[in-house]
Each structure stands twice: as structure tokens, then as C-alpha cells.
Symmetry: C2
């Protein structure tokens, strides 16, 4: 049976951006199939009673610094928090699902995260989403129309509800079977679990 690495993420989450830059290599090194599963982090915070990262002011200040420590550690070019942070990522997450239908979720995810966290663009703006979609070979008009379909809205809701039901309380979260790992900083455990799967 093929090993699967499930990656629950939200385009609003800068730690998911960090994970997005590592997770394919983990899957590749372990021969796992990577499943990109966009979900709505805000709804997860609400369902679990978890804080958003900026709700505790001291944590918000630290996170901004911590993200820069990670950028350096992972040798990423940059990480900016867009002016629109926290981002309303509802539409972006839905586009992620459309991209997945068309086999372009990896490319779209990299491009969307780059737009948000390297270029500081506002992913809640349909014009920005159209631009990112176009850049990875998705038809921008069709894509933006498609995300208004109930089927896509329901798919995002299902991912979110499934995540909460499986114990998720933040992003990024990974699953190797039923074994859950929270955070970009647990990828060494994810990799180990995949090696043993």
C-alpha cells in the first residue's frame, strides 16, 4: 500500500508557507504520496477554542521574529507579513481545491504563498488570485467562477470539519495514517513516521 502524507494547510498561515517549502522534499525522500488539503484555519480556531496567533500580544510579537529565524534557517529569500494580515483566505483556499482538481495544487500553493508572504500581496483580492491562477496555468475567470459553486464550498467545509474531527487545532498539520503532527517544526517526526510506515 502506498504511504500517504496528508498536509492540512491554509493560505493565511505563514507557518504553512514554511511547511510548503519543505513538505515535498519529505514526501520525496520517503516515497510517500503527498495529499494537499486546504482547510479554513479560522473555522478550526473557532471550533476548538484555540487562540489565533495574534490574540496573545506577546505571542504575536514573538511569532514575527520566529518566522524570520525560520526564513534564515530554511534559506528562504524573504518573509513579509502582508498589510492585510491576518489574511482572509476563504477564496484562496477554495482556489486551492480547484487547483487540486486540475493537478496544479503544488504549483498554485507555491505561487499563492509567494504572493502573500514574499510579495505582501492581498490574497483576499480576486485580482491577486486571478493573477496567481494565471501564472500557474489555470484559467483565471473560470477558476474564480468555479469557487462560487456549492461543490467547492462544501469541499472546503468538509476538509475543515474532517480536520477538527481528527484532532486538528492549528496549521500546518500533517497526518501519517492516524498519527498527527502539528507544526512546521515537527517535520522531522513526520519523516521518521513515513520511514517506518
Amino acid at each position: 500500500m502506498a504511504k500517504t502524507l496528508e498536509f492540512f494547510f491554509d493560505y493565511a498561515s505563514p507557518y504553512s508557507y514554511l511547511a510548503c517549502n519543505q513538505v515535498e522534499a519529505v514526501a520525496q525522500r520517503t516515497g510517500a504520496e503527498l495529499r494537499w488539503r486546504p482547510f479554513l484555519l479560522g473555522a478550526v480556531f473557532k471550533a476548538t477554542g484555540n487562540h489565533t496567533p495574534t490574540q496573545v500580544p506577546q505571542k504575536g510579537v514573538y511569532i514575527a521574529k520566529d518566522l524570520q529565524d525560520w526564513v534564515r534557517y530554511l534559506k528562504l529569500p524573504t518573509l513579509v507579513l502582508p498589510e492585510s494580515f491576518p489574511i482572509n483566505s476563504l477564496k484562496a483556499n477554495r482556489v486551492g481545491l480547484v487547483a487540486a482538481e486540475q493537478g496544479k495544487v503544488a504549483a498554485f500553493s507555491h505561487a499563492a504563498y509567494r504572493a502573500a508572504f514574499a510579495e505582501g500581496k492581498d490574497l483576499s483580492d480576486p485580482k491577486v488570485l486571478a493573477e496567481v491562477a494565471r501564472a500557474v496555468g489555470l484559467d483565471p475567470n473560470k477558476t474564480l467562477a468555479h469557487i462560487e459553486n456549492q461543490e467547492i464550498k462544501d469541499a472546503l467545509r468538509r476538509n475543515t470539519e474532517e480536520a477538527v474531527a481528527r484532532g486538528v487545532f492549528g496549521a500546518p498539520t500533517f497526518f501519517v495514517g492516524d498519527n498527527m503532527f502539528f507544526g512546521n517544526d515537527r517535520l522531522m517526526f513526520v519523516e521518521q513516521a513515513l520511514r517506518e510506515a
Copy 2:
């Protein structure tokens, strides 16, 4: 000037137990002086509005699993959460300060964490504290009398207030100068900062 690694911790914190098992090696590899700074994590949670780890039920469940992942990763013998968890660590933290006065804080910390998180003993019990104190060469009666002195109570309060003033919101937290790092899982950044200090 000597490099200093400040280690803010609480004997109630299992992640601080994990850090306690790594932090001396980090200091040694980087030639840094390690300052053990017990503080009262509960007061920090209160002052910052941060959740305690068990306040979000899904997080509590995950943390229990995550700690076991860490035990395996760090090759520790075991980690149990005592029946008395979350532990009332007020007295233990004060004994930590007494131990520091006598140059025995490292030995006491290892022994106290082992009692709590390897043997499941209740660190709020003066008999347990006396036993741990004795095992590391502290006079148990004098130690338990000393922690009732205002000077020790104030010292713990000062550590706690200083931590909050410097941006701390949880444990363990490390400082290299003004550079703050939160969590056992950031020791690679701590080590890097010390190498560059």
C-alpha cells in the same frame, strides 16, 4: 565578554523537562554560561492571557502524544504525566532558587524533573521535594524552611515579572542577550545565536 544563555523554566512544564535534557550540551558546545532561571509559568499565562496547554482539549490530547515523540527523538528513558498534572510547582520553583544559591541548580533540576516526569511523583508534596533535595546534597529541612523566606518568594516573583516584561509567554524560553526563543524545539536557533554572539 562571556556569552550567556538564559533558561527560563518551571518544574511544572514537561517541555522544560525536555529542554533541561539538552540545554547544558548547547551551552557546552558554544562555550556559553548557562543561567538557570526558574519562574512561575502559571503567573505568566495569567499575565499574558495565554492558554495553558490543557485549556484547548484537542491541544491537550496532542501534547501528550507529542511529548512521547520527543522522548523517542531525544532517546530519553520515559515521560509520564504525573497524576497531579498540571503540577502546582510554586514550592519546587522556590527550591530551584535555593539550589541555585548553593550551586546545585543543575543537579536539582535534573532530579526534580526526573521525579515528576519519569517517576510520576507529586512535586507539590513537601516530602517529595525533601527527598529530591536530599538526593542532590541539599539539607532537606533547611531547604524547605528557606523557601518560606520572603527573599526567596520575592526572587521567584522577580524572575516571573522580568520574564513577562521581556516578552515571555510560555516555557521553556531562552534568551541570548535580547534575542528570545520560545520552546524546546527552537534550541537549534539558540545554538546558532550563541555561535554568532
